[in-house]
Subunit: 137 residues, 4 copies
């Protein structure tokens, strides 16, 4: 199982009138999480784009469990869901600083498209990196 | 069935490196949609807060069907899901200008909390406004 | 003098912990303002990009005069500063719904770059559209 | 002179259609910078709010020198401008990873308001912390 963690400090610009972090920001945190997972595998998402592929979202979901507030130090945990075929699926958990309290859970599904924005199968160099990372775990 | 529509012009700040609108912005558009629905019912979300209630999200979901680009004029269609109990659920469709092409679909579930951020049942004044709106349709 | 106005309803996602609109959002409103000004001149910024030019910011400034709150209906007023050479400069006023109270003022300076991101002089087709708009006023 | 540095990795959500980071995000980075400066002084902005004070912006400025791109690792450098009276002023530099290339410079001015949002003089406990930090340098 591929899993990675990255931390993020909630800024004022993330908060809203209620004193909580606004919902749309969780999707930015999910992106931070999967970006870090790619980096840990030795293949950044920037590399993937440099090789002519993009990974637009096809589906995103977030369940909000307990509020996130200004200045909270979040742990963003990302897990690769290897059962998903035809693209990539990530699962996320937004945790407090100590990793004990789950603030939110979620997932995102991504397709692969080429330079012409045509949907393609996952490129071999991506599949290989994932396989190697899974084997190395 | 309660349904409302509002339009939004995609700005440069909504776009990303791929030339598409970034995923988190769809959640802002969903908010525009339900805000307009409340307004059409004659009870703004601002009114609800002024009476001491907040409606934090408990769940959000978005399915991305076809890309949204810079300067697109979007139609955000919101439908109230009256089958959801204990809070409020909205369904959304992000449509093109003419309302013919569906760019994305989604939903959001909201709890009601009082000033002390304690979860409460939907306030009577909200339930009444919804009933009246449904009857008036 | 070229001047245009566009309205924007402040959403929850624009607000922060203090109950005011967060500062970075004003820059999005400035963009809405100049986008609308271009549209009124009959040449959208999208058109400019389609012809191979981009207008990155070189400088932005904002003076915050009185707070903007959730659900406020803002009037974004944009004025073209024709005294600025070598690029484009816009001045902005964020007004309340009636256009009487000034919430913020600001300005942005933009360079022109071509497809290779090289700084160039303002393209003739842009200069011509501005001249025509100024003459038509 | 009080100075602090914090790093930030540019995410996809920060980028725009041009392939650069969108201008409004720089203001979020400025906030990260001054938030970290407060933390380094031993008094977080959260503490200031907990004691009943807020620091709304009165003015912000940003000069864009060279583009910031996806996945760039930025160094956000914040300097306290002690010559500014009646509030607080911060200067910022957005640098590349190595701190050699200046991507942008800027500044922000802040007033102090109390719980009733009335402008007040800088609270003694804030002034003291700054003095102590300056003396300790």
């Amino acid at each position: 199982m591929l899993k990675s963690r990255v931390i993020y400090r909630v800024i004022y610009g993330d908060t809203d009138n209620m004193g909580y972090a606004y919902n749309a920001n969780y999707l930015r945190w999910f992106e931070m999480g999967r970006g870090e997972m790619f980096r840990n595998m030795g293949l950044t998402y920037k590399d993937i784009e440099a090789r002519g592929y993009y990974m637009p979202l096809s589906h995103i979901e977030c369940k909000f469990l307990s509020p996130v507030k200004y200045d909270d130090l979040l742990t963003i945990e990302t897990t690769l869901d290897t059962s998903f075929k035809g693209g990539m699926k990530f699962s996320y958990r937004i945790l407090d600083e100590d990793g004990n309290i789950v603030r939110a859970t979620g997932s995102s599904k991504h397709a692969f498209v080429d330079k012409n924005r045509k949907i393609v199968r996952p490129p071999v160099f991506v599949v290989d990196v994932i396989k190697k990372s899974l084997a190395g775990n």
